[in-house]
Amino acid sequence: MTAAFRLTDTTLRDGSHALSHRFTEEQVRAIAGALDAAGVPVIELSHGDGLGGSSFNYGFSARDERDLLAEAADVVRRAKLAVLLLPGIGVAWDLKVVREIGAGVARIATHCTEADIAEQHIRMAKELGMEAVGFLMMSHMVEPPKLVEQARLMESYGADCVYVVDSAGALTIPQARERVRALRDALGCEIGFHAHNNLSLAVANSLAAIEEGATQIDGCLSGLGAGAGNCPIEILAAVCDRLGIPTGVDPFALMDAAEEVVRPIMPRQQIIDRSALLLGYAGVYSSFLLHAERASERYGVPTHEILVELGKRKVVGGQEDMIVDVAVELAARSERGDI
């Protein structure tokens, strides 16, 4: 039976945030191998902030992402390999390198109002014969008509699919639904949905997206990802099974992989604690969480206060440098007794 949607696993990309970008060759081989064996059709791998993300600002990778991609390419037999690229962080040239290593899908991510900075990268992906996916991050920050306008730009550059990306895990079910529906109605290309679980809605929003016509869905084993994590694919697969939605993947193999391959390497469980919940509530980029915790420790201000302040300032994805800025300012304020 044909699958109702194509599953893209991003354990080795979004999950990289949760591991502070320290995946090893062995872990990559084990995870990519298990995903491939379970029938997952697309596996994304790169630094959490995309190609070229290894930096002071986002954290240095323990291993070169290109070497890790080569390990994944070596073990997968059926799955396509994908990479993420954020224009402004990585460059179009990076795609040539990963194309040669074996990546077949280029996912080009911009803030949901800045799609036009992705033109050269989407075109480059197509020139290289890759599948191009447009990734509109922080989609909760704009209303559906604006999102449609931006998605149309990505489609016009050649994107084969455009994603509604809930980077902050801030979308409620109706909000996720109306965004996917608006894109579905306006675009000719495929529509995708990428969830974060900060409001405990990752699986529910993904199901709503499928109902509205999304044909590409992201998730991670055990939800391993930024903030409270992504949509756990073993749960999504199990729920879809119960609902009679064909997924094309083996839910039992995914449960095994989540339990036996990913859980043992998780630095902590993907729980929705106060800070994670506040990411969703205040609409803050999920990968800020661990950076905010480190800044909290260094500058002696509570993590949740940093996150709330970042939300107030309408900081967007990639502005991790603002976390230190906010922490320093809050520390100075509390020293003066302003709080």
Partner: protein, 305 residues
Amino acid sequence: MERVPCAVVGTGNIGTDLMEKLRRSEVLELRAMVGIDPQSEGLAKARSYGIEATHDGIDWLLAHTDGIRLVFEATSAKIHARHAPLLRDAGLVAIDLTPAAVGPAVVPPVNLRQHLEEPNVNMITCGGQATAPIVAAVSRVTRVPYAEIVSTVASRSAGPGTRQNIDEFTQRTARGLESIGGAEHGKAIIILNPAEPPIVMRNTVYCALPGGADRDAVAASIQEMVTEVASYVPGYRLKSPPLFEDGSFRTPAGEVPARVIALLEVEGAGDYLPRYAGNLDIMTASAVRVAETLAVERLREGIPP
């Protein structure tokens, strides 16, 4: 001192902001605004100031060079690539604000003195003007194995040229951190933020520090450089004193035990461009500083124009 005649080619936002700044210069005299669009607001403004304004483009300028010695190019990389040889043959010194990079990149307090005789100098990028001086301030005190910058600008202040070729910004800025800043490896990141009201340009500079670096000297050198840049970009300031963080950072140049972080804000002067557009203001303010320095020094040294 008699003021040195100059012209601005390109009458959009940047060219018009240059005009406003040049009207205040005690060293330069703006003789002509050169555009191609008769409806241009910049040209109308120039006329209202009594400045010669033409929409006949570079051909007009080449036919009316009398006395003009310096030309600001505020068009596009493609157009400047075509203009550059024409200006050079006409004996005009070009200060290029486009990404054409025909001539060497200059940052006034760091390397301008090495390029006083060039017929064409380039202003790199807004991020480069804002951050290369800080890297240079650190590298004059200690080795900088790796430097990284993050420039965040208001979406509204990023024009179509920047948007369509954002890689050019990151790559050229990164090279500037190396060739001008003195870092062994450089990386640049740019973020566009659409918040309303628009945010003021932000820059964060991270420099890797080798063990035993003299932190007081690094901090003092950064402060001194900020004062120097602020002398020609009044809205350029540190948000907090330089921050030193210990850790083990696996940079592309090897592991380092510490880093220094400079958090900078650049608010525009609000001449023609809005105040939040510090990224554009730092380009025009730096270009005027470059031109003033060239005017004074070339004349003093007897270098032909």
